[in-house]
Amino acid sequence: MAAPVPAVGPGTDPKNAAPGVTTPPKRRGTELVMLGFAVLITLAAQTIVDITITGSPSPEIATFGLWFSGIWVAAHLVVRKVAPYADPLLLPCIAVLTGLGLSMIHRLDIATNALGESVSSREDAPTQLLWATVGLVVFVGVLLVVRDHRALARLAYTIGLVGLVLLAVPAVLPSALSEVNGAKIWIRVAGFSIQPGEFAKICLVIFFAAYLVDKRDVLALASRRVLGLEVPRARDLGPVLVAWGVSILVLVFERDLGSSLLLFGIFVVMLYVATERVSWLVIGVLLFSAGATLAYRLFGHVRLRVDTWLDPFAYYPDGGGYQVVQSLFGLGTGGLFGAGLGGGRPDQVPVAKSDFIAAAIGEELGLFGLVAVVVLYLVLVERGLRTSLVVRDGFGKLLAAGLAFGIAWQVFVVLGGVTGLLPLTGLTTPFVAYGGSSLVANFGLVALLVRISDAARRPAAPPAPPAPKLGEALTEVVRP
């Protein structure tokens, strides 16, 4: 570790003191305290659920508490060891979100089992806790393997290829191995089903970042002004057209509205971040509109989604509107303060554990609770964007911005779907929703953010000893 630079006021000695260079705090203690708070919130939620529904806390709470705290203590210790300057809020935010999700899933487990309809009463919360543990392993693995995020830039094309393959595999596989509820986005092997798209997303963001760092000057500068907009040259449009084509292909072959929207949005915004040209956003919106219109004309499932979005009650109770309408009823029942954990009936919404978990939270915690969840995402995204501003290398900047925007965009699209603002897409609420792939992939994503934020906040290496005085050095005459 570098010896701490003594805090020198910038006014005193301009030569030695770059402004703002004091010993930067590592803030690991803050992280630990906040993680403790997060665990406390989770345990409170679980206890309240149990007491409200069954009248007494369940005996499993102790095991759960130990396991759940163990995950975060382990994550904290690894961060303390290998990324000591990392942002102190990333882990606590995802801890609260994961914990809230686990509590909600636990609550829905009780509700569905109480109905007694399903013969196989499934407990999804323990499975999700197991997935969180796998997520922790991935988190630790990423932090240990990726010691410097810039190393990823060198592997960018390989990673991008892996991402495309992951994205394409479910489309190529026969439906029996890849289709669940009409969406062909899974790989089902030996009882496990994973959604490779979640991992593909991260791979593609890494590739985009490296590609754009390479090409951003060309994309930003070689352009003509037409109608006050910088219009890029046709050949520079290539990458954005390819991204557009890929996302349309995903839509065609996998019937996955969400992933294609997510990928295209992330790419356009990263292009904008890299070039600072508004024209890319305009081009993106135009291409999106074209793609959306095309999809609406060509595909029945897209048309159904849009129609039920425009008027969900027309398709209720029979038809595609059932989910959205039930979700809206749930949110309405919740009101401002919610029905209290365990007090509502969120199991009335189909697939409440995964796609509609936000509706369940809205019903039981009300507007205040749902907004709290949104603000937690906001803090997470803010830390990501802040990292992007502070980190010194262009690749890190773009990668952090892309990952952070990806979370924000995904939350927006999901919550928009649940609240009726946007058509339903089938994306998952990051960290909260039930689903192994999503949880594990997002743990990996946060590991990358932690890695970049460590690089961003780490003090610059101590200034090299004063270089030989260039200007004033005497010319040395070398005699033969």
Binding site: A18, A38, A44
Partner: protein, 153 residues
């Protein structure tokens, strides 16, 4: 079943707990913004603020003391000064050793900081190569290629 009052305490207590967490998170964000930390952009040094309140007598002009543009003077305002070969720079250099966007002088609380914008040949303050933002004192030479600049009052 549990008493209604307990359920109500749970209902509002949990929301309170959740928002307390967010409040704590915001405190951390705030401490992060205000505290001294290694960032690329310099925070406003408190000393500089104090100086401004007393009526800062900072440098007023930027002089070019050597190089092709020698003798040029730029009056300093509040805005940053962009130096480079690009046409939209404040000081347009015609120097083969300068990059198109070479360096920037920024005013922060009456003090001027020089920052290298990733130039090829570097910017030097006195003899020190500029890596992050550096405070420029009056009369201290800033060297960009063959051009030397100085802040004067």
């Amino acid at each position: 079943m549990t008493a209604e009052i307990v359920l109500q305490v749970f209902r509002f207590g949990f929301l309170l707990l959740l928002w307390l967490f967010i409040f704590a998170a915001f405190r951390v964000v705030r401490a992060d913004l205000l505290g001294g930390r290694a960032g690329r952009v310099a925070s406003v040094p408190p000393r500089a603020q104090a100086g401004k309140k007393k009526g800062a007598r900072g440098p007023k002009n930027l002089f070019v003391t050597a190089g092709p543009l020698s003798g040029t003077r730029i009056t300093l305002g509040e805005q940053a000064i962009l130096i480079g070969r690009a046409d939209d720079s404040t000081l347009v250099l015609t120097d083969d050793f300068a990059s198109s966007r070479h360096a920037r002088l920024t005013n922060r609380g009456g003090q001027w900081y020089v920052e290298d914008l990733g130039s090829t040949n570097g910017t030097y303050l006195d003899q020190q190569r500029v890596q992050g933002p550096l405070l420029v004192a009056q009369g201290q030479p800033i060297r960009i290629g063959q051009t030397v600049l100085e802040l004067r009052s």
